[in-house]
């Protein structure tokens, strides 16, 4: 979306250039005439140049100011608008909820607006600025603290207190919805990380059981790697900050380390437990067990390698189970939780979505009803679990759908050990951690020195006030 918008701005600018430049050059080409005329031409020419520059700059800087939302804001009294990122199961929930409302003879209808993941904060920001917020918004769990901190969400503390299943919800996700003692967002669906491995490649390499500690991952990766077949033991996209958070941080957590301290005010990446995890990745890469050029690889590239049988292991999320089962039915894969160095503990990232009612939303009562519906077993089990999404209510973990598919069991273990960094500046952490991992995979320094630098950079961000 952003790319398309930007491109159209650039194209508009180019056409403007041509028009203005042509006008100015045509004027300046007029031969003869008085001195006044020539001066006038000169002035016009300069005006043209300044206009040209202004048009250029304006269309560039416009990206910092104008990105208005045309959909969903300013709802009619009987329509409740819900914004979600694409890929969440909520559109199906809305259908069920609307059926329920119809049966009850309610005047309300929920309308769902799907937005690309990266556009959710931008569009929502524009909606806040324009005072045209939707009635409900569902967003990536990591963004909730920021929007809660700027007062974009209604405080749902009393509503949360009244929820019968509140003590059964995943605590790390509940924490993400909190800010200064208030509950501003509620967990909706979960997606945790684990290691996926290719059972066929494991069998071909003579490996009889999945890895349970770092040494086993390393040994297995050695046996699985065969560059002649373009086959690699463990694949990782170094260019993707999201993958760092989702699939590398769990190694640090499992090993007893953290990216941030408990108050989210200081980075702890330079501690030995975190540095050891980076050393482990550096070693795998140095020994050629990762794909060539892992530092620049993208998430799509490595995922595609795993899907097409070119990767022995990859860190991925729950959502992959459904993708692999439906789109790659011939791929035999297994799942294991991400272990620490000696395999005594596990780590996982508690991803997923939180749902909130924006401050100033016009239909909070029906919005709260919708959230209650999302948390009901009818949705958490019969819709989410059935479609391969993890419920956020622990009592719903054991269900007939997960019992039928063994791939989910390790994810449930991962879920119990899952964490998510709490910070209102989460998006800003992508840059230093991605740079750190890329430096490590390009052997630009020791793991300790790389994480020392990353720690300094993160602390600088956490200390910044803007």
């Amino acid at each position: 979306m952003t790319g398309q918008w930007f491109e159209s701005a650039v194209e508009t600018r180019l056409h403007s250039f041509l028009l203005i430049y042509d006008t100015t050059t045509k004027i300046s080409k007029v031969q003869g005439g008085s001195k006044v005329q020539k001066k006038a031409q000169n002035i016009m020419s300069k005006v043209g140049v300044v206009s040209l520059i202004a048009v250029t700059a304006a269309s560039t800087v416009a990206c910092g100011t104008s990105n208005s939302s045309s959909s969903g804001g300013g709802v009619a009294s009987q329509t409740v608008t819900l914004w979600v990122r694409t890929g969440t199961p909520l559109p199906d929930v809305v259908k069920l909820f609307n059926q329920k409302l119809k049966k009850q003879g309610s005047k309300y209808t929920v309308k769902v607006v799907e937005l690309p993941n990266q556009d959710v904060p931008t569009k929502f920001s524009a909606a806040i600025a324009a005072n045209q917020v939707p009635d409900l918004i569902s967003m990536d769990v990591v963004l909730a603290p920021y929007f809660a901190s700027i007062g974009a969400f209604k405080n749902l503390q009393s509503f949360y207190n009244g929820l019968s299943m509140k003590d059964q919800m995943i605590q790390s996700m509940v924490n993400q919805g909190q800010y200064k003692g208030g509950q501003y967002a509620i967990p909706e669906d979960a997606d945790v990380s684990a290691i996926l491995y290719n059972k066929t490649l494991f069998a071909q390499a003579g490996i009889t059981k999945p890895p349970s500690n770092w040494q086993e991952i390393l040994n297995d990766a050695k046996k699985l790697t065969d560059p002649a077949k373009q086959q690699y033991g463990y694949v990782y996209p170094g260019s993707d900050g999201g993958f760092f958070m989702f699939t590398f941080l769990p190694y640090i957590w499992a090993n007893g380390g953290h990216i941030l301290n408990s108050t989210g005010t200081k980075s702890e990446l330079n501690q030995s437990s975190a540095v050891d995890a980076l050393k482990f990745f550096q070693k795998m890469n140095q020994e050629g067990l990762m794909e060539p050029n892992a530092s620049a690889a993208t998430a799509n590239q490595v995922t595609s390698m795993f899907e097409n049988g070119h990767a022995g292991m990859i860190g991925e999320g729950t959502f992959m189970v459904d993708t692999l089962d439906t789109q790659f039915p011939n791929l035999k894969y297994g799942v294991v939780p991400i272990p620490n160095a000696d395999g005594s503990k596990y780590g996982s990232f508690a991803g997923g979505d939180e749902i909130a009612i924006p401050a100033g939303a016009k239909n909070p009562k029906i919005a709260e009803e919708f959230i209650k519906f999302v948390l009901s077993p009818q949705v958490q089990v019969d819709l989410f679990a059935k479609n391969g999404d993890l419920p956020v209510v622990k009592t719903d973990f054991q269900n007939k759908y997960f019992d039928q598919n063994t791939a989910y069991k390790p994810f449930l273990t991962a879920l119990e050990n899952s964490q998510v960094p709490y910070t209102t500046q989460y998006n800003q952490l992508y840059n230093p951690v991605t740079s750190a991992m890329q430096d490590a995979l390009q052997n630009k320094g020791s793991a300790q020195s790389i994480f020392d630098t990353a720690t300094q950079n993160i602390n600088k961000i956490l200390n910044s006030s803007h």
Binding site: G3, F17, S34, A40, A58, S59, C63
Partner: protein
């Protein structure tokens, strides 16, 4: 002041001599108004607002606080801002010559009035019609190591023995992007130059031939001088477009590795839309505007000096 009044009076007399009547002014204004309104609405107002925001701490929600030049001071002390400016300038310097030279050669090849030449012109122009995001994705996959088609072809032809990591270090990534952008935008520059070429009288070239001028001499002493307005235009567009490079970096390198390919527009984008530092990103935009104004004025002044 007196001189200015005289100039205005002179200009008015000039227009009157050309048959100007006051009621014609309204008609002219009516024609111009839509264009002016669009420019004011979509460029003038956002530009003004950006300039205003650059002096504020401007959160998405809550009170906006006037902080004077703090955002500008922050920009001038932000190492990444200067790194991005430096990289963008370097990228612009690197990418402009190949685009122009390729376009110029393509123009010389396709300007001849031979049967089927229009097909070649269309083929060369087609990449420009593709969206930048789509082009970037296509090339990203072509550069893929070890599955990309470029490495496959080079290996098959025994030109390379090991796959090349095209998108890897800062330098390799830059070279890869320069190749892609040259492929993508040369066709557009070629069209500008072709338009200029159409305006060169065949008689002039024929007369030079009769006088014994070789093709090379005709190119140097007739074609290039007569094309200079078009060359100037294409270079201005190319330089500004390169300085505003974003999509290709967003898709192909994410500004990496380790921020080595972080262009200034990408850094502004990150601050505005990922970090929500609206005031700060506005200040950087204003600085970028100033830099671009300077570059364009210098460029046009230099190239304009070549005119009659």
């Amino acid at each position: 002041m007196v001189a200015v009044v005289r100039k205005i009076k002179g200009a008015l007399k000039l227009t009157q001599r050309r048959g100007y009547h006051p009621d014609k002014g309204f008609k002219l204004a009516a024609f111009i108004f839509p264009a002016v309104a669009i420019v004011v609405l979509f460029f003038g107002i956002p530009l003004t607002l950006t300039a205003v925001m650059s002096f504020f701490h401007w959160p998405l929600n809550g009170p906006k606080v006037f902080i004077g030049f703090s955002n500008y001071v922050r920009a001038f002390t932000d190492a990444q801002f200067w790194d991005s400016i430096g990289y963008t300038a370097l990228y612009t310097i690197i990418v402009t010559p190949p685009i122009f030279v390729t376009a110029f050669i393509m123009m010389l090849l396709t300007e001849r009035k031979l049967p089927g030449m229009a097909i070649f012109r269309s083929i060369y122009f087609v990449p420009f019609v593709l969206s930048m995001v789509a082009s970037s994705l296509i090339w990203l996959n072509m550069y893929n190591n070890p599955f990309g088609i470029i490495d496959y072809v080079l290996s098959s032809l025994h030109i390379i023995s090991h796959p090349i990591s095209w998108i890897s270090s800062g330098w390799m990534s830059t070279i890869s992007i320069v190749i892609m952008i040259t492929w993508k935008t040369s066709g557009f520059t070629m069209m500008i130059l072709l338009a200029g070429m159409q305006g060169i009288s065949e008689e002039v070239l024929e007369a030079a031939s009769v006088d014994g001028a070789t093709y090379f001499r005709r190119l140097i002493y007739i074609i290039i001088p007569l094309l200079r307005r078009y060359i100037a235009l294409s270079l201005v567009i190319s330089v500004i477009g390169s300085f505003l490079g974003f999509d290709q970096f967003f898709v192909m390198t994410n500004g990496g590795p380790s921020n080595e390919t972080m262009t200034i527009v990408y850094w502004i984008f990150q601050n505005a839309f990922s970090y929500f530092h609206t005031g700060y990103s506005s200040a950087m935009s204003v600085i970028l505007l100033t830099i671009l104004m300077g570059i364009t004025v210098v460029q046009l002044k230099f190239l304009g000096g070549l005119e009659d």
